[in-house]
Symmetry: C2
């Protein structure tokens, strides 16, 4: 492999732990899974040390107008900067940045950042419901969380007041996909004689209308759950009123 050495920088222009911010008048073209062209304008270019490249306008929120995720190889040409080509390794994707004017070009060392900690809602929903299955249906009791099947675990496996089996799929928001997922599980579960009559319940904070329609067509029940109410059920010392 021959090192790529155009312009001022070698293949990886950034030392570990830094970002490079370029304000430049440029035209950008992405070719790969599709072709996306940005006409010439002043834009913000962000180069991260992991090889990420982002092209941002001053609007458009969250999403870059164009970008490339790692791993990448970055070539630069010209001094002053005229052109940057970002290639995605092991792929034909590429980002061509034609630069006509550089207003600013600075790098900042950032160092290593410890990791982001997330406390999700979905897990909490499952934990809460597993201790309050009666809220889904009177008399429903938990047999096991994460009941294994050949194609993935059922969130909750329960038995109803008549001892009939009930599989529960939990989502924050239930879409058609949630109904499909539960349908697949049931299809498999019902091959087991004991579970031939297993019912299904989709439990979610919100159930999309089309998901509900499909669930009904498939003979599945839908239950909308209120996390606050369930939390209250779990903590009897906290009353709702």
């Amino acid at each position: 492999m021959i090192a790529v050495l155009f312009g001022r920088y070698p293949l990886s222009p950034l030392r570990s732990g830094s970002v490079r911010l370029v304000i430049a008048r440029c035209e950008v073209r992405y070719t790969g899974r599709l072709t996306a062209t940005l006409p010439e304008a002043l834009r913000l270019l962000v180069f991260k040390s992991d090889g990420s490249v982002m092209v941002h306008a001053d609007t458009g929120g969250y999403k870059p107008e164009n970008w490339m995720t790692p791993p990448t190889a970055i070539e630069e040409r010209g001094d002053p900067l005229e052109r940057i080509v970002v290639r995605k390794l092991r792929s034909d994707d590429r980002l061509d940045i034609a630069i006509s004017e550089v207003l600013s070009d600075v790098s900042h060392a950032l160092g290593d950042a410890r990791e982001l900690e997330k406390q999700g809602v979905e897990t909490e929903l499952q934990e809460a419901l597993s201790e309050a299955t009666g809220w889904l249906e009177p008399g429903l009791r938990l047999v096991r969380r994460e009941w294994p099947t050949g194609i993935g675990p059922v969130d909750l496996m329960c038995r109803d007041s008549d001892d009939g089996w009930v599989a529960v799929e939990i989502k924050r928001m239930a879409t058609i996909e949630a109904v499909e997922q539960l349908s697949r599980y049931l299809e498999l579960l019902r091959e087991t004689p004991d579970l031939a009559a297993c019912r299904g319940i989709v439990a979610a904070q919100t159930v999309k209308p089309q998901a509900r329609a499909l669930a009904v067509a498939r003979g599945l029940d839908c239950v909308e759950i209120d996390l606050d109410v369930i939390r209250a059920l779990r903590e009897p010392d906290l009353t709702l009123f």
Copy 2:
């Protein structure tokens, strides 16, 4: 409404058409659909004039570690900067940025950027195919695009050379999910007597092997399409050779 005026800036700190880039040692906390906390570290903060806020590390690619999409209200406190609170309007989402050190704080006017042009998205495939259904199968003719069903529209509804109905699902890349989607449509369509024998075709630029296998097992056809070839069909003055 009382204007929010902490620190140096009023509610919307940026004039139209600019970005503000801050390199700062900070701790960030998002609360909303979940709670996500970033421990103190040097980070890049990007404020766009549309109200977007992004918190980036030097790694992690494409995605900000934390962010807020418009519409937002931004409060700043302290000089030097100590704290930034970003609130999402009409929502309880908020981003708290506690700043211990500012290494850089610059704004750049970017002006208005003309829009991004994309080629090769699914819509384009659908447009092209709708005028060249014969390419999918000899004699196939379009009856209607976006044929409505209770669970969403069928991309193309056609009739074949024997006047039999054919539902077509179009994807850029067909995965198992595309096959599932078409299966759902057919399940519903076939409840209508006239459509009881409706066939299905998955049309995509690329069809994943497992998607093809599932399609075959379900009695659906798969066709890989070449957008360039179809374009050529639509524009007879352009020949392929």
